[in-house]
Assembly symmetry: C2
């Protein structure tokens, strides 16, 4: 097939005409048309190559040939639904179980992280017979109605906060209520959840679930302080609720040292429900909920079938299995650990000469560069962050994006084949751009 079928202006014109404008384009002033990709590289219609620092979905690299081969082979053989017995779904569940603590051994396959979080909420409410949810400030758990309700990032701009939703402070040790200088921020932030639970109880309400991304993304690439999750889980369980770890962005080895980001909180911590999505199918719509036998049994006990038309079909599971193989065979966790450490190290080095860099944080290939206008007040450098993103694209053909409540965090969540050289290039370019901006500002 011809790679480009329409001229770019025509694509843009049709896009405006046919696709809901709520679906936004990157670089909306000058959107990019991508026609080809490989590994960590994107190519536009003129063959210009972009280094991709943000496609966490294309986890093992864009268009990995062994994923395509696995998909095509299974598509040619069979793609039916999970009401028939098939080996792929059970073999895939078995492989996923091996990555998780023993008690997380029951799986539900779905088509998106949003579907996974919606189901997690149903499971939690059914199991606990409670309604209320605690979510972290600035959190985003998906685009479905039920998830907008538990996502402060969305509901504050839309329908507002429901009476059954409660917002706990984001455990951000850079600009949150407890910072690096606190002797035990993990405990202190966990205690805010404890206090919130007590407040909920005083209202005569009951907690079904605490929902949190294992590393809050939209919140600003946040690393939860040590001890936080285990303590929160203890408080939430005492209140009869369950702990849902949203690993939709962070799972499948992105953090390098562990397969799941929640494992950064130590072996003493295990969630009751884990949701997964984005990287799971390397771009194929595939997501999952893992939970315990007890929670699954409570869900079964309601006597109502859960049927997801496409969820867990043989093709999706073949792709999921192939992704796991590539993560192992290409040692992508090892790569994430090495390259992520190098990237963080290089960014930390240039921090000494750029007052704009307030903090460098991250783990594995999940890294954030927090920009501030002054380090003392930590005022978010929103505009600077936007200019860095724009100049990296225009001058260096590098795609990064921003996040955080003030869009002041430049984030890195590249395909896991990101190399040492890629890390060096992007830091060198950021260094040059910041130097240049500082010179023209002074």
């Amino acid at each position: 097939m011809a790679i480009e079928k329409l001229r770019k202006e025509e694509t843009l014109e049709m896009r405006k005409r046919f696709i809901g404008q709520s679906c936004r384009l990157f670089y909306s002033d000058d959107p990019v048309k991508i026609v080809k990709a490989r590994g960590q590289y994107l190519f536009d219609e003129n063959g210009k190559r972009y280094l991709d620092c943000i496609s966490n979905v294309h986890h093992v690299g864009h268009c990995h040939p062994s994923i395509t081969a696995a998909a095509a082979a299974q598509m040619d053989l069979l793609n039916t639904n999970s009401r028939f017995l098939h080996d792929n779904i059970v073999l895939y569940a078995d492989r996923l179980a091996a990555t998780l603590p023993e008690k997380l051994c029951v799986f539900y396959f779905v088509n998106s992280g949003s579907e996974a979080n919606d189901l997690a909420l149903r499971l939690a409410q059914q199991y606990t017979q409670h309604d209320d949810v605690i979510a972290l400030d600035h959190a985003y758990h998906g685009h479905l109605m039920s998830l907008i309700d538990i996502s402060p990032y969305k509901f504050r701009k839309l329908s507002g906060q429901k009476e059954w939703v409660h917002v706990a402070p984001l455990p951000d040790t850079y600009r949150g209520i407890y910072r690096e200088d606190h002797p035990n921020p993990g405990q202190a932030y966990a205690d805010t959840v404890k206090d919130l639970i007590e407040e909920v109880h005083r209202k005569g309400r009951k907690i079904s679930a605490f929902f949190a991304e294992s590393l809050p993304g939209v919140g600003g690439q946040i690393i939860l302080p040590q001890g936080y999750s285990a303590k929160v889980a203890e408080y939430v369980r005492s209140a009869g609720g369950v702990f849902v770890a949203d690993e939709v962005q962070t799972g499948f080895g992105r953090v390098g040292s562990h397969f799941w980001a929640f494992q950064l909180q130590g072996e003493g911590f295990c969630p009751d429900i884990v949701t997964m999505g984005k990287p799971m199918g390397n771009g194929h719509p595939l997501a999952c909920v893992a939970t315990t036998v007890e929670i699954a049994e409570a869900f079964t006990a309601n006597g109502v079938e859960y049927f997801n038309t496409f969820g867990g079909n043989p093709v999706s599971c073949a792709i999921g299995l192939a992704v796991l193989d590539v993560i192992e065979n290409d040692d992508l966790r090892g790569n994430a650990k090495r390259v992520g450490a190098h990237l963080k190290d290089l960014l930390t080095k240039i921090q000494t000469r750029h007052q704009t860099i307030g903090e460098v944080r991250g783990v594995g290939l999940f890294v954030g560069l927090e920009l501030v206008t002054d380090r003392e007040h930590k005022t978010p450098a929103t505009e600077t962050a936007a200019r860095v993103v724009k100049r990296l694209k225009e001058e260096d053909n590098i795609c990064v994006s921003t996040d955080g409540p003030w869009e002041s965090v430049v984030k890195f969540k590249p395909p896991m084949c990101f190399s040492m050289e890629d890390a060096e290039l992007v830091v060198q370019c950021i260094d040059r751009i910041l130097t240049d901006m500082e010179a023209s500002d002074s």
Copy 2:
């Protein structure tokens, strides 16, 4: 790859261990393991061939080689998200627009019919600034929390009816409140919606949307009476609401004479929102919402981005385009019309000798066989229907299933390549089984 990787007992044992039991198996007493499929045929691990009368998802036939080829070619080239410009999404939207009335020209691509219906509900509520929904009795619109709320089929067994949800009678002219002998059932059933709207208004509430499958499936393969939808749309719009046509099961030419089942209601009728899903990607997780410029603009006006990670990606759209090509090139609508008519005709013929067959209804390859214990009282023959399903599988290797509030409707919604001979075979087998059952019952 080896077709079977585990012995069947092992697959079953792992399925029980790893997959939530709410995800049920067909023929749960003796589940079938399917390892291969082609066209309208499924093959088990021993090579036994089943005639598939129910896989409406595998619309153009199981494992159609041109769908696999399109998927593999695009997977090898690029699979990124809709924040980058790409030709496939706009070309696909353009092709879909050509099948719809002119005013339905804005598209949102998602991953499942459930995601589509959830978004439709958001669009309706945002546009109308009203909350309430009218749904048909026994309706099912998806597995998400928001959709369980508007699906009497589910909420009656689960959370119960919410105050913002109102249930209109199912316009079933066989066993509903107005039947074949009524001079104008379309108008009469539409008036029940009018009455319901007045009741809602008396409560001081306002209608955002009327949701209905264009041919209610779980309700029992129901054909809406002529004039119903246009009248309902008139009443709903007068109340400031919108008409959502759920075409998740019925779209893409299944009815033969038209591309969309709502078009059976005549040219005077056009919904405000159409949702589509199951057959759209021939098994690939692909779904969509189509709506008007006005509704899309109201959604954009809230200022909040709608981002669906996998929705509208280049691979999903390449598959969607390939499905449209096969429907056209293989004249599957023509086939659905011819074979569906033949199937209905043959079933009607055997109705004369089987008192158990209360009604044969359907259009194109969407056909239902309503079984009753006596024709006068139309008592649902639930057990007979279950036995027919079981015997067709065991004696004839034919897969059908049941639906309807009493599971008394044997339903046919096969891949669209279903042949005249397939129709003849299945009717001949049903004839034999019913004859045999009648003999042993007498």
